[in-house]
């Protein structure tokens, strides 16, 4: 198992975190904090000595600034950055083949190690390419990644894609975590639910969550 970096989320997932050699998708509206799951996942991996790759459409500086807001100090251990600016590998949204090839190359170079890959570029890829192309690309990429001891965490914006595109993407992943804001009377309640996770039975429940500088706090939601 690969710890999510958030003890309360690990318990909800499988008891210990994300399943080995799995691909997990985090879906939610912009601004809800999906990236934070990626930050803590990476941080936890680095602390355990795992090799971590972080793919983002932003510059490294922007991501580090955002991480600071969640109380994450990235000054000592950093992942391998696949970013638009400031990273070891340059991310170009128009170079789809290169995107897949570079990830596979990095994984090959680190074969034998436990690896964690965060993909925070899925929505921008889907915005600029036909969904069928991205579906095919991810299917091939995930098949290759699963040859290694790697766990993939990807984020996807809700509200930017058609429901059938989101459904197709969810079908590709072993696990899907949904983060949403719900309207309850005059209150806005942020809730999380695990829509599916390989190796665990479906979980119907919602969880209240709050993101703080010390991590994410989860508690069972009671209406």
């Amino acid at each position: 198992m690969a710890s999510s970096g958030i003890p309360s989320l690990d318990k909800v997932l499988t008891g210990d975190g994300y399943p080995d050699r799995s691909t997990v998708l985090v879906v939610g509206p912009p601004g809800i904090g999906k990236e934070a799951l990626g930050y803590w996942f990476t941080q936890s991996g680095l602390e355990q000595g795992d090799f971590c790759l972080y793919a983002t459409r932003f510059s490294v500086r922007e991501v580090l600034q955002d991480e600071k807001g969640f109380g994450i100090d990235s000054s000592l251990k950093v992942p391998l950055w696949f970013a638009s600016e400031g990273g070891q590998i340059k991310y170009d949204v128009n170079d789809l083949a290169g995107f897949s090839f570079k990830i596979k190359e990095v994984l090959k170079q680190n074969e034998g190690r436990r690896m964690r890959v965060v993909i925070d570029v899925l929505s921008s890829l889907l915005m600029l390419n036909p969904p069928e192309t991205i579906y095919k690309l991810l299917t091939q990429l995930f098949a290759d990644i699963k040859k290694y001891d790697a766990v993939v965490l990807a984020t996807m914006e809700e509200g930017m894609h058609k429901p059938e595109v989101i459904a197709a993407m969810q079908q590709l992943f072993d696990g899907v975590i949904e983060m949403r804001l719900y309207e309850e009377g005059l209150r806005v309640v942020p809730l999380l639910r695990v829509r599916k996770m390989r190796g665990t039975p479906p979980q119907p429940g919602y969880f209240n969550f709050s993101l703080t500088r010390s991590g994410m706090e989860l508690s069972g939601y009671v209406k």
């Binding site: 509206p29 601004g31 807001g69 809700e158 804001l181 005059l186 806005v188 209406k223």
Partner: protein, 249 residues
């Protein structure tokens, strides 16, 4: 009897209802801000909330005052216009960054200096000529003063409204796009209130502000305030799509 009815209608539609909708919009802005963690969206929600509260206050001040406190209201308006423009000036670069082609919006980088000058000029006109603002506060203000104020205010809000709308259309961030579209609507409705108020102040130049606001003549402005308040509500709600638990459980 008809005067009483007129008074009740005007107060209800021009004052109470817009203020309630503004406060409701402010409530949702802060509630959504509390639930979000993304800086851009939190900031947008906070601004909307703060402005909606101020506009609820403006509706009450505008309708409840008399000429003795006009100077203070003028000062309040002057500061409010500057704050609104500061907000717009911070939103345009955000909208531009969310355009994948990073296109400039109406030469904002250059024209914003002129617009800042325009905003300050509007403030000076407000404070320097207290009877002028808003133009329907026609007591003691001249035709030239009213028209000058109108031109300066129209440039500021008209240009900003169009710029925000263009920024929204070009943005690939669907949340920001939707919220900014409603913000553009707010600015253009503000411009429409200036048109209505100025026209009425020109048509009825002898009427004082106090008389004006308690007659049917104030109703068009009241309706525009309601529309503006509703746009605030929609702009805040657009910052996050809210699900309903009963729909999905």
């Amino acid at each position: 009897m008809s005067n009483e009815l007129e008074l009740v209608l005007v107060i209800a539609l021009g004052e109470v209802l817009p203020a309630i909708v503004f406060l409701y919009a402010a409530y949702w802005s802060f509630e959504i801000r509390r639930a979000l963690v993304g800086r851009i969206y939190r900031r947008q929600a906070a601004w909307l909330g703060i402005l909606a509260i101020n506009l609820a206050a403006v509706v009450f001040i505008t309708y409840s005052t008399n000429i003795e406190v006009e100077y203070l209201i003028s000062l309040y308006y002057a500061v409010l216009f500057l704050v609104v423009f500061a907000y717009i000036d911070s939103v345009i670069p955000v909208a531009r960054r969310s355009d994948p082609l990073l296109r400039g919006i109406l030469h904002w980088g250059t024209l914003r200096y002129f617009l800042w000058f325009d905003a300050f000029l509007l403030g000076v006109l407000n404070v320097g000529i207290p009877g002028v603002i808003p133009p329907s506060f026609a007591s003691g203000s001249s035709l030239v003063a009213n028209l000058s104020w109108f031109v300066v205010a129209s440039i500021l809000f008209g240009f900003s409204g169009v710029a925000v709308y263009i920024g929204a259309r070009r943005s690939r961030d669907m949340v920001l796009r939707s919220s900014l579209k409603w913000l553009g609507a707010i600015l253009l409705i503000t411009l429409a209130t200036f048109v209505v108020d100025t026209t009425e102040s020109l048509l009825i130049p002898t009427m004082t502000n106090f008389q004006f606001f308690y007659t049917y003549d104030a109703l068009p402005s009241g309706v525009l305030y309601i529309l503006m308040a509703y746009s605030f509500y929609r702009s805040a709600r657009a910052l996050s799509s809210l699900g309903r638990i009963q729909d999905e459980s």
